[in-house]
Amino acid sequence: MEGRFPDRVLPYLLLLPSIAIIVVFLIVPAVEALRLSLFEVAPFSGRARFVGLDNFRELLTSEVYRASLGVSLVFALGIVTLGLTASLAIAVLASQPLPGAGLCRTALLWPYALSPAVAGTIWALMFDPATGPATVAIRAVTGLSPNWMMDGGYALGVVVVAGAWKMLGFNIVFFLAGLQAVPRELKEAAQVDGAGTGRVFWRITFPILSPVTFFLLVMNSLYAFFEVFGLIDVMTQGGPGGATDILVYRLYEDAFIAARWGIASAQSILLFVMVGVLTLVQFRFAGRLVFYG
């Protein structure tokens, strides 16, 4: 009890603003979403018809929704794989005491400051079917000139590149912090014992980094599911032909274009289940971070 103040009322007063905001704007709406998911709702009219689990049944049997789920999973997998691989490789390079490494580290942080909408716009420019440098490069290498405004699979690839690029800065900062925690003596001892650079990396650095990698895996997945709306809206609006119609975009369309609040709320609940799983995974990992760190 050393160093603690004896006030009984003050802690409640200090917590009140946070708790009030959370209850009013987060908990109550979340519970309301659960309720609405069981109804067919006419927006703003106050009229709602109880339909039980029909909304969920409709979603899970709907080809459009299942396709959207598939797109989301491929998108998330792409973001995580591309983003983590690239940022780990770059972080390993940037962590070396090289001249100019500091400058590079600052430059690499840039994309983190950009919004998904700005990142999307910049990559739409890069992949402009006529003049974009990325298009020009692809044409030079493959001889093809794909157009992501027509070709669905290619469009998904393009939004993955844009989305992963935006997270690079964030990932690199965490990998760099993690790399600093790898004991120098351990690596040197291994090198003295004749282990090559690759072996030192996979046997020593990578395992010690694993909590950071795992944390970033969860963060990038959450990002891919929930924070790329602006990027999709600016670049493809879910097209062409639903090829980039990730779950959050589908939700937006059902809630605010089609005004189907019941079915949209059911989608919210399904998304909540996904966040729940990812968050629980993250909390379990938090314990391991303490162990390593």
Binding site: M1, E2, G3, F5, P6, L10, P11, Y12, L15, P17, S18, I21, I22, V23, F25, L26, I27, V28, P29, A33, A89, I90, L93, Q96, L98, P99, G100, T106, A107, L108, L109, W110, Y112, L114, S115, A117, T121, I122, W123, A124, L125, D128, T131, P133, V136, L168, V173, F174, A177, L222, G230, D233, V248, L251, W261, S268, L271, V275, L289, G293
Partner: protein, 275 residues
């Protein structure tokens, strides 16, 4: 040492190349923003900046009312970052510097739960709530619902736990109250964390897209992210030079905030992951 120099040079070149590839899209966008509409289609594109930036900016500015959008974004992002800092400081202080009180655990769990409730999982009812409050198309709607911060509360709590208890004990013995202790001693010690949190939350709010899109209806309330979309969507033939002038202006404030607070941000992360 000649053996070690070659791979060193190679890694240096690789790193420079990687940094260039990562930064290239931003530089290219900036370059395009200085060209005239005709110059955009010249191949290969000119390497040096053109002279049309101000013209492009003026056009973008007039097309979507960029001035108002920038002000809105800056005000909202600063307000939310400040609000989150104040509220999470208070909450973290309540959790760490008082004798255990009934309901402490429940409050802690409630704050953690915010991590599990991103906007999409409650979007329809939150929108409806704004409607019921009469907050649609208002600054309240763009700020107040964001004021609570699990990240901030955890960050400050974690930091407070590393502050020697002797400090608050001494303050208590000297007759200083808890608020005085928080403002005079704890707050200056938290400078790095304050800066890091401000950076993260300012960027988060400056970059927020979905909520402003659905909750604002008038041109006066729009934010700069939506302005970008409006620029992109105006014509069939994208006027990249004009769009990129808007993009450059939209990414400048967060870049400046990032550069100003980067040190604290990196240090704060290092504190979190190191021993």
């Amino acid at each position: 040492m000649a053996r070690a120099r070659a791979p060193r040079l190679a890694s240096q070149a690789l790193l420079a190349l990687a940094a260039l590839v990562v930064v290239f899209p931003v530089l290219y966008a900036a370059q395009i923003s200085t060209l005239t509409f005709q110059e955009v289609f010249v191949f290969p594109p000119p390497l040096l900046p053109g002279r049309a930036f101000l013209d492009n900016l003026r056009e973008a500015w007039e097309k979507v009312g960029l001035g108002r959008l920038l002000l809105n974004s800056a005000g909202i992002a600063a307000a939310v970052a400040t609000g989150k800092i104040v509220l999470s400081l208070m909450a973290a202080f309540a959790f760490t510097y008082f004798r255990d009180f009934p309901g402490k655990r429940v409050c802690f769990v409630l704050i953690l739960v915010t991590h599990m409730l991103p906007l999409p999982v409650r979007i329809v009812p939150t929108f409806q709530l704004m409607h019921d409050f009469g907050w649609v198309d208002s600054y309240q709607a763009l700020t107040v619902p964001f004021f609570a911060s699990a990240t901030g509360t955890l960050l400050f709590r974690q930091f407070f736990l590393t502050v020697p208890p002797a400090l608050s004990e001494a303050a208590r013995v000297d007759g200083a109250g808890p608020i005085r202790f928080l403002l005079r001693i704890l707050l200056p010690l938290s400078a790095n964390n304050l800066a890091a949190l401000f950076l993260v939350e300012f960027l988060y709010m400056w970059n927020e897209y979905l909520w402003p899109l659905i909750i604002t209806t008038s041109d006066e309330m729009r934010v700069v992210q939506i302005g970008i979309k409006m620029l992109v969507a105006t014509d069939a033939q994208a006027e990249w030079n004009v769009i990129m002038a808007g993009v450059v202006v939209a990414m400048l404030p967060p870049l400046l905030v990032l550069l100003a607070l980067q040190r604290s941000f990196v240090r704060s992360i290092a504190l979190g992951t190191e021993k």
